[in-house]
Symmetry: D4
């Protein structure tokens, strides 16, 4: 099935000539490896196996490829999330996907399933040390929201102003899980973890200069945290932190 045939199929489905099941079956039956190659193999079984649809990593993908993945997932009754999008990719998706939610600071685009009647599944608090950590924090927040959770950002509570964190305690002490985003010396997760009794997911950011080595300094701090309830994800990996937080918060409703 080439691009043209695929669009005919989508069109038929949108105009009610085919049910979603019929369209999906036809698509699966006829897809040739070549057609699939254009947008990589979409792992449609992921939602079933892992609980959430496959998330699209944006860099290097054409807008056409992004659209194709979004359409295949819509056809399969799944929601969509794309991360690390460029301004061009964000513009393209915003123009062409009805109901898409764009977050330009987070550089994400998401399309929720239409009939998500379920209430939000848990509370995720997201702390940032400084304003430059905000994009990573927003990427985490968007991921949590896409998974149906509630994300509460508490920003600019870096350790150099010790009173700030204490003032904000009520905003994160009752969360089901806490994400802490910090660059430079990455001390905030250790400090915040001492105030809560839930898991803390630390996200080092590449913010800083000199011997911060693109975030390695913060990464090492977090790995060596003396607090027992701190785990770590990769540098700038807001998506991964959000996804883990969503899973942890979500389990309440299992």
């Amino acid at each position: 099935m080439n691009r043209q045939e695929f669009e005919q199929l989508l069109s038929a489905w949108k105009q009610g000539e085919l049910t979603a099941d019929e369209a999906f079956n036809r698509w699966q039956a006829t897809s040739s490896p070549t057609a699939l190659a254009k947008a990589a193999l979409v792992d449609l079984d992921r939602a079933n196996r892992c609980g959430y649809a496959e998330v699209v990593y944006g860099p290097g993908k054409s807008i056409e490829q992004l659209l194709e993945v979004f359409q295949i997932q819509e056809l399969a009754g799944q929601s969509s999330l794309a991360t690390r999008l460029s301004t061009e990719q964000l513009d393209g998706l915003e123009a062409m996907v009805p109901g898409i939610i764009i977050n330009r600071l987070a550089r994400t685009a998401r399309r929720q399933k239409v009939s998500t009647a379920e209430a939000p599944s848990g509370q995720v608090a997201i702390l940032t040390a400084g304003t430059t950590d905000l994009p990573v924090a927003e990427e985490a927040a968007e991921t949590v929201r896409w998974m149906g959770g509630a994300a509460n950002l508490v920003f600019d509570v870096g350790v150099a102003g010790p009173h700030r964190l204490v003032e904000k305690l009520p905003q994160f002490q009752e969360a089901d899980v806490v994400i802490v985003v910090a660059g430079m010396e990455g001390a905030l997760p250790s400090v915040a973890a001492g105030w809560v009794r839930v898991p803390v997911i630390a996200v080092p950011t590449s913010v800083g200069y000199g011997a911060n080595f693109g975030g390695v300094s913060a990464l090492l701090s977090m790995l060596n945290s003396c607090a027992a309830n701190v785990c770590v994800v990769n540098i700038d990996a807001g998506f991964k932190a959000g996804y883990l937080a969503g899973l942890i918060a979500d389990r309440r409703d299992d």
Copy 2:
């Protein structure tokens, strides 16, 4: 209060001459900084603030110091856990603390609270890639058990024998959280994470030789995992993985 006075206090309490409250208050009132210095400041408020008592990191502590911490925590109605103990420390604690649970592979000692009537709070699966990863896995398991959770070890399912992991799926696919312990190339967490819909806590071990750099190779693999549900703790940090898993599993019963 010096060592001798402290022992008199403990003795009076054990013989019923003092209630726990009376003993605890007396100890708090009279403790001089010097006495405290001997076993560091025991953070007795930790159990209240974080949900679990402070855990003792063994290296460099004398058996006397370890005993003192265990006794203070017992007096305060808290359970105890010590990690990274040497054979001498394990022998000493085993001989002197009634009811202590020693795990010589994990190099841990724990004393549970007497009247823990609560049922285990969740299921934690712990996978290991090879037999040399076992001590770290056991440390994680002991920590989970100390927190009241159930730990199920699934061992030797390294990726070089691909059929092994699939055969063991029933043993970990229903867990509330999965810990994966692996050295060398650290590929197991990525592979295991693809089969579950819960958080995976990856623990790199220092097992290997050559360019594994004491576990850094496995650590980097895990940080760069293409699976979204993988977070990482420090090299050989079985305790931290177990603690996080205990928190995640425990939240079901909140």
Copy 3:
């Protein structure tokens, strides 16, 4: 012999005024070091000593220099392969070398010997973890093809979707040698190696972000692979992987 004289020589040979032997001898006899300097010393003995002609590394070479090497090799009865070419270099070669085979994804150009009557010498399977690994895989494939082998690409079988690799087993289990291209955590070679009984050549790619250090994370994973049949080449070194695979597959016909 300056550029102009060299072109006259080539022209005379193409118009049949000189046999290849005559042209080659004349060229060798008169070449001054200065002329040679322009396109580096072409190691014409390489084909005899190593079985294949010298391969040209593109960066920093002018189109004129590239053409000169292709012509010298054609004159000496050898095929040609150039790698890491820029768009400008690819355009220039495509315009000026009849019969050249351009692969823009791989950024390679090759000219086969006209009368290669020999059948392909072996089967090389090339696996990729994600779509971003494709250029490196294509570079490997082009190299295999230039050596007379058959290259079969099996793409997007990263470990996060564990069922994908198993589904593709028939496409690589019968190959004479397997190349595995992967970035991020670089786990795929270890996993794939467990399914085959032939050598696996692992190629780390610089794909990823954060603590992947431009491919070092994947490189270390592959070096520390617990599978015994995995060797490694440099980061992004698709050419070298293809060359080694070509040699291994080719030896069947020795």
Copy 4:
């Protein structure tokens, strides 16, 4: 099946009371996970899936565990190889396994299948730069021999004595594959590779001092080799180099 029962089973089989098939089936049927745990899961399917039996990595294993693996493999009709053995382990195996071949320089022990009627399958040349590289080279050689190949060691041909390598050309230029073992600057693989038309497997060793970083210097040299036919294995990984060489040489007889 505990240790005692296992020995009774072996004894019955050796005295002809049971055929190998009967013994093997009985063992498989009754083995409890606990018994298996003692010597890790022996991957008996490996020989079928990968062509060669599982190889035992010695460190941390008791002599009893090593013996158990050797016996299980013997029972299953497979040969055995153990690497990185200590003097104690070597002594223990030598004393208790009839017909075992011990190489104390290589620190290996192997037991060949009794009825290997097949001729050696290929020629592997193993070059070393200095005498201190010899143990790693011997480990590679033993592995090749265990696989049925012929290993020819050409030693002490480091690049500081340029005439030496050329003098030894006849000893390695006709091999099916060449292993080069070198520490310090690791230049030998690049130089040797220029003289042959077969794959070269480079093994960096931890030999050296100062800024060699336990072999990293040689490893980087080999990864960055300007010769196209050089692949690399981990530092000191003689076994892996031998295994790969065995596979490459063996393929002739497929």
Copy 5:
């Protein structure tokens, strides 16, 4: 002047046969390079140029050499400090130098000038994150004391117990300079610096495990501190921190 002659000189001086000036002049006039070589060149001008006598770095020096330096400095009217001493060195000095002050935790020995009538020159607070940081803190404290300052240790106020630091504020907020000693993630200097208006000297320690790389993790944290008033010394460099603190506190009395 050989060892014997040197001892005769010292003896004559101690018995009043020579004034200090006479002894010192005689020693300077006759010292041959060989004699000096035994205990390295003692930089007697250091006290004049830098304000404090040269400090002896213990490792690799014989007890005889240490004694010689102490005696030369005593002869020249200077006080002495030696660091990083082994138990043997400490025992030797304790036995042979009257009035020496030994600190076995700090591994230091110091001899103050007899007639130091001056009052202590300033207040130095020294904070430690954990008990294992104590030896480094004590080395700093001994250095401060040797320089005439007052050192106040505030220990075990690591960030995992956030209330502890706040409780101890009165003990360090009025100091003239604060030294913070911490291993693992090295977060304490950043946090403490937010509470004071004086310079903070951060000392990373090699305490920790896994990816702490012998203190590099803490070192990077401290270098990247978001607090403006934090400078850093080398890993475990308690002496250097103490010396700098002594200089800063001392300047009040200039």
Copy 6:
């Protein structure tokens, strides 16, 4: 309070309709978190807690945000300093903030409190090894001046011209504290420290090429200085060095 309301408040205050206290109280009372988010939380308590107002790190901030912080600090009776400003930011501030002091080499902007009647508090000498270290030195100097100290630059006294440093001794030997800025091998702090009896703050710069690793070479030199009176700040951290020097020099007047 949105941007517009904030400007009305400022305007009312400038026109005398409100006292500073009234304006400040009104602003504090009505500020919504959203408004604050625009320019991060300004830590107005910093001046009280730490002795100096919060310093603004420029990168990533809009001119509007910078202005807002300057205005809030002016309103609160505090001086302002911003660092690492781009040409655009410098131009914007210069145009819009009356009395601002711009240093384009240092890339700083500062606004002093109007009525600073106090005399400069101390002497800070700043040495540079080469001309390329000048911007970092100027950043340090501007910070010292903002704090009320006197900064004396002594430039181009690198160790390759040994007579230069000695010639300049009178310019820095009487300072209260010395800052040394150097790239490449970073030897200057060690050499300069031998000539003074005050603390030396070493600032490594990213100046150099090859194996200098963006300043790491100089950083390591400085951390390993054999001189006892050398502490270190991050690579290129002129601001931090200046701030520490200001604190040390300032303490004379406490």
Copy 7:
């Protein structure tokens, strides 16, 4: 003396109104520190102390500054050399300095003293592994020539073509010192050193890709060379290699 006065001085000297001595003395007498600051302190004593004039490192200097240094050195009777010049700097110097020798591949500019009657002082051979190493080799050659030595380039003799180096032996075996420039695995210095009895100066270049880390791979190879007669300079440091070679070759004529 400001820029204008300096130009008047130069003009007067060129028109014979002042002798060189008079001009130089006047310049020295009146130069204010501010004027000197513009072009850094020119170390005019360097030629006397070290045998050669100070060499100018180009990056970051304006053409005006470069000219000023060239003029001051001319005035002082010294020759000039500037390295790492941009195209703009090369154009500017070429246009404005009569008799200047520009090497655009080396990115150098030099002005020799007019009356250098001395014969070349020694033979320096410069070997390169590949064409991309040429700019660094040329920088070395220009430096040698500036010092009065003869530089003989032998290019493209990388180890992958082993016969090439042997063919070129006559071109470098009689040199007084050999410079070897190589990137990638950096094996050439070790190999070349085995053929000569003079010092070999190895220059690693940043040429390569993947795990070459901008030349670190070649640097480590060279530092770990098994050949005793190999010393190393920084990555891409052609100037330094040339300078050392010039000194070694020059010593013949002392």
Copy 8:
């Protein structure tokens, strides 16, 4: 020729039954590869090709092997030098090789040719920063002496005592080449190089603690030296520095 036969040959030669030529020829004719393997291939041609006999690297060699090499070299009319010898090796050689010169600080043993009538060929100055650098300096000195040069050690002139180096200028300023041995921050070569007009060979040592990384800190300092006349050898590589210095000094007499 086995060990016994070899000793008979040596014995015959020593008793005059064979001339050296006869003995040498007989040895060469009959030596089997196995015999040679015992002491590695002695590169007897090295003296001819490189000017000096092969030097023996001691670690891992038995005393028997060392003796064998010394005897072969004596038989071939060559002198001998062995480095990095253990106390046992030094004792063994001292006992069994008449006329051997042992340096226990340098850990070297050398045997000079009997009839070296030549005068010393040049002056090598060797500077050390501290007493702990002495063993490396002595290794360099012994190497220089073995080559016939004169080595003058100037010790303990580290940069922290700036007057010391200047006082010692007469001891090294007239040398033909200067070796500088330093650990910690490795600043001494840069400083010393500014005072001389000859090549400086810098030897980093592993002396130090904390972030010195076993000498890497000093190595980087030396590679990044701002002095043009500094080249570098590996960490602790006293032998290599001595060998290069010997070559440079020796060339005067060519």
